[in-house]
């Protein structure tokens, strides 16, 4: 394995071997990270691939003072922010985005997990304290950022964050009986 410094030098140089190594090391995680912003894995993949292509084309301008990992996450983060801004513009002009969100939600309902889990999730969400529930729905279903929710509800960002932690923790505890399925799947995947 080559060190970070060696990899950075190789990237700067436009060495294809280094480029491939770095791509293969970080691609999946960067996609997962981008997906947390974009909520669409196909677009997340396109964006991460685009980030790498720019890195390749502008290799001589690469000037990395942090770790390589930080540099890559930072690049993807910046592209995500731009992408989300672009989506917001679209969302303001058309109602397309919400429509799209509806379709995706339906797909979730139709998948293997089944009606029982769906009902359980809905009842847990409904049982949350009113403010917590409202924050959670704005974040999860309307995909608003902490800032946007804070502005909309006249609360601090910190409060929004606390509500989100409470909601997700409650869901995790309440859905405990459904989680073993996941462990089983993970275990199975690792064995193969």
């Amino acid at each position: 394995m080559f060190s970070d410094l060696e990899l950075i030098t190789g990237l700067h140089d436009g060495n294809e071997i280094v480029f491939e190594t770095v791509f293969k090391n970080y691609y999946e995680r960067l996609c997962n990270y981008a997906n947390t912003y974009i909520n669409n894995m196909i677009e997340a993949e396109e964006m991460v691939q685009g980030t790498f292509l720019i890195l390749w084309e502008k290799h001589e301008m690469i000037d990395i003072h942090t770790s390589l990992k930080s540099y890559l996450y930072r690049s993807v983060h910046n592209n995500c922010i731009n992408h989300v801004k672009h989506l917001q513009v679209r969302r303001n002009h058309y109602d397309e985005y919400l429509h799209y969100a509806d379709i995706e939600y339906e797909q979730v309902s139709n998948d293997l997990i089944g009606k029982e889990l769906e009902q359980k999730i809905n009842s847990v969400i409904e049982s949350l304290p009113p403010q917590c529930k409202a924050v959670f729905k704005l974040s999860r279903l309307e995909n608003l950022t902490y800032n946007e929710i804070a502005e909309k509800m006249g609360l601090s960002v910190k409060t929004i964050e606390n509500h989100m932690i409470k909601a997700l923790k409650t869901l995790r505890v309440e859905l405990k009986e459904y989680l073993p399925l996941l462990i089983w799947l993970l275990w199975f995947k690792n064995v193969n």
Partner: protein, 339 residues
């Protein structure tokens, strides 16, 4: 429990992550925490599960890195175009050898562009060389133990650690590699989806992206020829290993074309070959062109051997042997008969 002591901080990071709020450094911190133990991973995956089932399209979709790499590498523009001005050669002061090699190549190759970067500031230095050949054949000493000849329309990336122990070469197109055996030198060659691990030898790799096969001809010694999924074959001297990219099958062929590495050696062997065939091979090996004046000459047969002769001697010998004429004009050497 350890999990609980870091609980609040980690929970905050996880929730930020799944809410699309995690800053790059937070995502990195979280991933490093996940990697620390299976229990951490499980904890994170629990939240992923909850997250995936409560929001729009947050479901986990697995990512196929190899497929993505195929897609990206297809779109990667070749870095150095021969006619581009981006010729950048930096000569490290402390390594005069590089200067000599680089300088002679710049003079010799003309159309090909070589890019070398050695940053003397870096402690852990690596040597990185990219060779891009369009219309010429590049001969190059990559390290004291590794020599390479890169055929036309091919490119090669080379990477080595400072000590020259770990070496990797990536070939797109065709190249001939000679390695002087040394216990200290490790060389791995990548060509398309295949790997070739050298065991002290000289061999030729042919892996043009448009061809469905990757070929490894071993001149001396032996190599291991394999892919990530397939442990592959050992190819011995005189043999050609062939990998079919569609069927993913390796084969060994003992027949080998005597002129397979002629682009490197300029040693040519023709046995009752048609003049058309001879001309085609000469045009592959030499930069100047040989042309048949008329198609009647194409079927003339010739048996002859050339050892690194200049093209004017070769055409002259062909002319004398077959009783035909040679003239040189702006297009190259023209073979013609008197009728």
């Amino acid at each position: 429990m350890k999990l609980e002591s870091t609980n609040e901080h980690i929970e905050r990071l996880i929730v930020r992550y799944f809410s699309g709020e995690a800053l790059p450094e937070e995502a990195i911190e979280l991933e490093e925490w996940i990697d620390k133990s299976p229990a951490n991973k499980k904890y994170f995956e629990d939240f992923r599960f909850v997250s995936n089932h409560t929001g729009p399209a947050k479901r986990y979709v697995s990512v196929d890195t190899s497929k993505a790499w195929e897609n990206v590498s297809r779109q990667m523009k070749p870095l150095k175009k021969p006619d581009a001005e981006a010729v950048k050669v930096q000569f490290p002061v402390y390594r005069k050898r590089w200067f000599n090699i680089a300088a002679s190549i710049v003079i010799l190759i003309g159309l090909s562009v070589i890019f070398i970067l050695n940053n003397p500031k870096n402690e852990k230095l690596l040597t990185s060389v990219a060779l891009v050949s369009n219309d010429s054949i590049i001969h190059r000493e990559l390290s004291p133990t590794i020599k390479i000849s890169v055929n036309r329309k091919s490119n090669v990336a080379y990477l080595s650690d400072r000590a020259g122990k770990k070496n990797e070469i990536k070939i797109t197109g065709e190249a001939f590699i000679e390695v002087n055996h040394s216990i200290d030198t490790m060389l791995l060659v990548r060509a398309d989806e295949t790997f070739i691990r050298d065991i002290g030898t000289s061999f030729n790799v042919k892996a043009y992206p448009e061809n469905n096969i990757v070929e490894v001809f071993v001149e001396n010694g032996k190599v291991a020829f394999y892919t990530k999924e397939h442990k592959g074959i050992i190819v011995n001297a005189g043999e050609t290993g062939v990998y079919d990219k569609t069927s993913k099958i390796f084969n060994i062929v003992t027949y080998s074309d005597p002129n397979v590495i002629a682009y490197k050696t300029r040693n040519l062997v023709f046995r009752n070959s048609s003049l058309q065939e001879v001309v085609k091979i000469l045009n592959d090996v030499y930069p100047d062109k040989v042309i048949l004046d008329n198609q009647n000459l194409a079927d003339y047969k010739i048996s002859v051997t050339f050892n690194n002769e200049p093209l004017d001697s070769i055409t002259e010998i062909i002319g004398e042997t077959l009783g035909i004429q040679v003239r040189k004009d702006s297009t190259g050497f023209v073979l013609y008969d008197n009728e």
